[in-house]
């Protein structure tokens, strides 16, 4: 059928709604799908109703949706990531249940395929990336002593398109179906000939828009770090987290375009009958594989490097020691960033290139283990003879240290082409990448979440439930994924909705139990947040330094004021705040109070979120008039926004003075608290200097 053959509603019809299947043709698989769809609808309605009930629309609009404050944008990113994580994890559980129940599972093959496709897509693009970007937004400008990121409105726009793309994935639960082609969406299977439905189109547009958001974020963060550091903060005085963010942002700038190109070309093949990747007329699928992994491999380092940064901060703070081997960590980070671009081909050792090429890429892959090893030793040396506190972030960090080494080793095994020929496409691979992604990235962002939460909101998270969650994550992860190494070695293929060989069954059952433990971890995480909200008065840390922190973000009140620093700091040391505390120059009033100029609120991001969401939906469903209309609207809105001339607001010096003096008075009357009491209500965020 030609793309012009569709009417006003494009391909949309009653049969596209998820519930129609349930009515016409009942099955458990359809029931599972409908339940998910119903949850989306119900959750949307409930959220809207609650917001109305509590009359928070006004605040939501003026404090959040239009905000250009990097801290608020960061928080919105994280909220979004947590919502998507809930969905992604639940999909993981359903898949584990299916494979544990096999051979008679309860899902159709196609439904299972949609599950691993959405799960993979969501976890990478809508959980890991936004969570990392959110934390960076929240913390990095504070760590370098800046007022904001370099381009605050651009920051808002990046969030807007990412969220719109995520919402598109939510819509795919209710209308139509998602791609069955996995998170990598290899053509020709995802091309028009084999997949004429809307599934791959959902994937394409979600990837294109969120990818654009990530690219812009990379540009923003790079410029922020290179240009907005406080005086005296030369490169080797930058906190290690900022280093990892810098490298990861450069990866965003260089690695995202290949993905956008690949996805758009796939779109041209599907929509306009081009022949980039088709089987016939000169199309070349290997081009897609190269483009996708030219992005895909750096992507994992793009995620894991900031997590390394978080772990470095955590190890150093909770060991109360300077980070060991700072410079080696910096060079290791840079080498990993560079090497990550030289290994992409290990994702298709088996697709027919010459052994020489496989060997080159195999060796390049193994090389990455070297700088990673350097890091592991640096972290251990940081803990050595430190006064270690076993807090929640530290539990994640230590869990990471041990588990990540296992995951990394299994990666080195896979980097050997001869071994890869045996185990590629089996669950061994699934075990490997979860083994790096969960301890590496997810534990990292969760550690960061626990660590910086007080800075963002002014109160600590509940420590007991936090620990529960961390332990459950570690145990749950091991139970879920270690059996997959075994099943993979026995030859169980990945992405299979069922199997006949019952040798696999016990492994799948254990993995399912593990997934249930992970579910408990998720529940504890939610409970932790709820309990902490309830106890927030008790756990306030207004002074701002609950953990005896070492870098600049801890030197200001919690939550930080919109302008961050009353006076931009001048830096003389790598652990600037620790240095300041030791020399007694922490908590000093500024020499002079000045007016501070910050960007005003801006509705642009919100408008673009709505418009690009509609645009994507229109494109997926072939509603050309709507696509055209929203494109025009986007152009007009953007041009109109360039005519806003008064985009700044001034915070008068008197207000800054008032805030600061109030805070300093609070510091003076607060009793410094020792580390042993840091998780008690005595901790008001004024850490005692101890050695």
């Amino acid at each position: 059928m030609n793309i012009t053959d569709y009417g006003w509603l494009g391909k949309l019809s009653w049969d596209s709604i998820v519930f129609s299947d349930l009515i016409s043709n009942f099955s458990v698989s359809a029931a599972v799908g409908s339940t998910a769809g119903a949850i989306v609808i119900f959750a949307t309605i409930a959220t809207l109703a609650l917001l109305t009930w509590f009359k928070v629309w006004g605040t939501l609009w003026s404090e959040w949706l239009t905000s250009t404050d990097h801290k608020k944008i960061g928080i919105m990113y994280i909220v979004f990531a947590l919502v998507m994580m809930t969905r992604g994890l639940l999909e993981g559980m359903v898949m584990r249940a299916q494979q544990a129940a096999a051979p008679d599972g309860f899902l159709y093959a196609d439904h299972f395929a949609q599950l691993f496709s959405t799960h993979g897509t969501i976890m990478i693009f809508f959980v890991a990336v936004p969570f990392v970007v959110g934390l960076v937004n929240l913390v990095m400008p504070l760590q370098i002593g800046a007022r904001d990121v370099a381009f605050p409105v651009l920051n808002q726009i990046s969030l807007a398109v990412t969220v719109a793309a995520g919402m598109l994935l939510m819509v795919s639960l209710v209308v139509g179906e998602f791609s069955t082609g996995g998170w990598s969406a290899y053509p020709p299977y995802t091309g028009g000939d084999f997949n004429p439905g809307v599934g791959p189109d959902y994937w394409i547009w979600a990837i294109v828009f969120s990818g654009a958001g990530t690219t812009l974020t990379g540009i923003n963060f790079t410029v922020t770090i290179l240009k907005c550091r406080a005086a005296g903060m030369n490169f080797f005085r930058m906190p290690i987290f900022c280093w990892t963010v810098l490298c990861s942002s450069i990866l965003m700038i260089f690695a995202m375009p290949p993905l956008s190109v690949a996805a758009l070309m796939l779109g041209f093949d599907r929509y306009l009958d081009f022949h980039f990747f088709t089987n016939d007329l000169g199309g070349n699928m290997m081009n897609y594989a190269n483009l996708f992994w030219l992005f895909g491999h750096p992507e994992v380092y793009l995620l894991v490097l900031p997590a390394y940064g978080i772990f470095s901060e955590v190890f150093s703070t909770y060991s109360a020691k300077r980070l060991y081997g700072y410079k080696s960590l910096v060079f290791a980070t840079m080498s990993i960033a560079v090497l990550s671009f030289t290994v992409w081909l290990h994702h298709f050792f088996t697709m027919g290139q010459s052994p020489t090429i496989n060997i080159v890429f195999g060796i390049a892959t193994m090389l990455i283990a070297v700088p990673t090893g350097v890091k592991v030793y640096d972290w251990m040396a940081t803990m050595y003879r430190g006064r270690i506190r076993f807090t929640t972030p530290m539990i994640y960090a230590i869990g990471f240290l041990i588990l990540f080494v296992i995951g990394g080793l299994s990666g080195v095994i896979l980097a050997n082409p001869t071994v890869d020929f045996q185990v590629h496409n089996t669950l061994f691979l699934v075990a490997h990448f979860h083994n790096v992604l969960i301890p590496g990235v997810l534990f990292g962002v969760l550690a960061g979440y626990n660590y910086w939460f007080p800075k963002a909101f002014g109160f600590r998270l509940d420590e007991r439930l936090g620990k529960w969650s961390a332990y459950l994550w570690i145990v749950g992860f091991m139970l879920t994924f270690f059996p997959l190494y075994g099943a993979g070695l026995l030859g169980m293929p990945r992405r299979s909705f069922s199997y006949m060989d019952l040798t696999f069954k016990p492994y799948m059952v254990v993995a399912f139990i593990g997934a249930m433990v992970v579910l408990c971890a998720l529940i504890s995480l939610v409970l932790q947040l709820l309990v902490s909200l309830r106890d927030r008065q008790k756990n306030r840390v207004p002074v701002g330094d609950p953990w005896d922190g070492r870098s600049l973000e801890w030197s200001i009140p919690a939550p930080a004021p919109s302008y961050n620093f009353a006076e931009l700091p001048r830096v003389t040391d790598r652990d600037e705040f620790t240095e300041a505390k030791e020399q007694g120059r922490a908590y000093q009033p500024p020499k002079v109070y000045r007016d501070i100029e910050i960007p005003k609120n801006n509705p642009l991001g919100f408008l673009l979120c709505v418009l690009s969401g509609i645009l994507m939906f229109a494109l997926v469903w072939y509603m050309w008039w709507l696509a055209l209309l929203t494109t025009l609207a986007i152009i007009i809105v953007v041009i109109a926004s360039t005519f806003r001339w008064d985009s700044e607001q001034i915070i008068p010096a008197s207000k800054v003075q008032q805030d600061t003096e109030k805070w300093l008075a609070l510091v003076n009357k607060t009793e410094p608290v020792g580390r042993d009491l840091e998780n008690t209500p005595q901790n008001n965020g004024y850490a005692k200097l101890e050695h």
Partner: protein
């Protein structure tokens, strides 16, 4: 230098706030954006190169390209880079708004001329059976050359907006800063065109 050895760090900004209006930083940010865009183009170029032979029996470069028109397109675009440069200089030397606008309009006309010729070229190619649906080679061609054309159209739209802004608010700092970025962008497109001419047209003709 207060331990501040890095050339990129401007050091303490005593005038607080609004860092995003600092020209140095804004222009640098735009350079970084162009680097990302360059990768985008680079990847599409790479695809084109791998697909030069994939004509699947359809028309190839030798049948399709019209070097006469291409020469005219090249001239138009290169000259427009010159005129946008003159516009930048009039802006820098605070010549009259009129002469600035004149040079912007001239650039715009060159840009539109380029786009017209390019579209005519495409339609001639189509008449000879050179449509993107015909082969992988032609898909790659139409993935790359119109991508540049789209950038040029975007630049033209940007010029219109700049003209409107100069007419409504005059040459404010913000307007100037935006124009500087536009000029950079325009030179960048020139550079890409030189790549397209050498790789797509000339390279295609030689190796196709």
């Amino acid at each position: 230098m207060d331990g501040n050895s890095s050339a990129l760090n401007k050091g303490l900004r005593e005038s607080p706030g609004a860092i995003h209006k600092d020209p140095d930083m804004v222009i640098f940010g735009f350079w970084v954006f162009m680097m990302s865009d360059l990768i985008f183009f680079g990847v599409v170029f790479a695809i084109y190169i791998t697909m030069i032979g994939a004509t699947a029996g359809g028309p190839g470069p030798r049948e399709l390209f019209d070097f006469g028109s291409l020469f005219a397109q090249t001239m138009l675009l290169l000259t427009s880079s010159l005129t946008v440069g003159i516009a930048t200089i009039t802006m820098k030397h605070q010549r009259s708004q009129g002469s600035f606008l004149f040079w912007v309009v001239v650039t715009l006309l060159f840009g539109l001329g380029f786009l017209t010729l390019e579209l005519l070229d495409f339609s001639e190619m189509a008449a000879k059976g050179g449509i993107p649906q015909r082969s992988g080679y032609l898909s790659a061609f139409f993935g790359l050359v119109p991508l540049h054309g789209l950038h040029v159209s975007f630049g033209c739209l940007w010029m219109l907006v700049m003209i409107a802004q100069v007419l409504t608010v005059g040459m404010t700092d913000l307007v100037k800063l935006r124009f500087l970025r536009l000029a950079l962008f325009w030179h960048f497109l020139d550079l890409i065109w030189i790549g397209i001419f050498s790789v797509v047209y000339f390279g295609g003709w030689v190796y196709g």
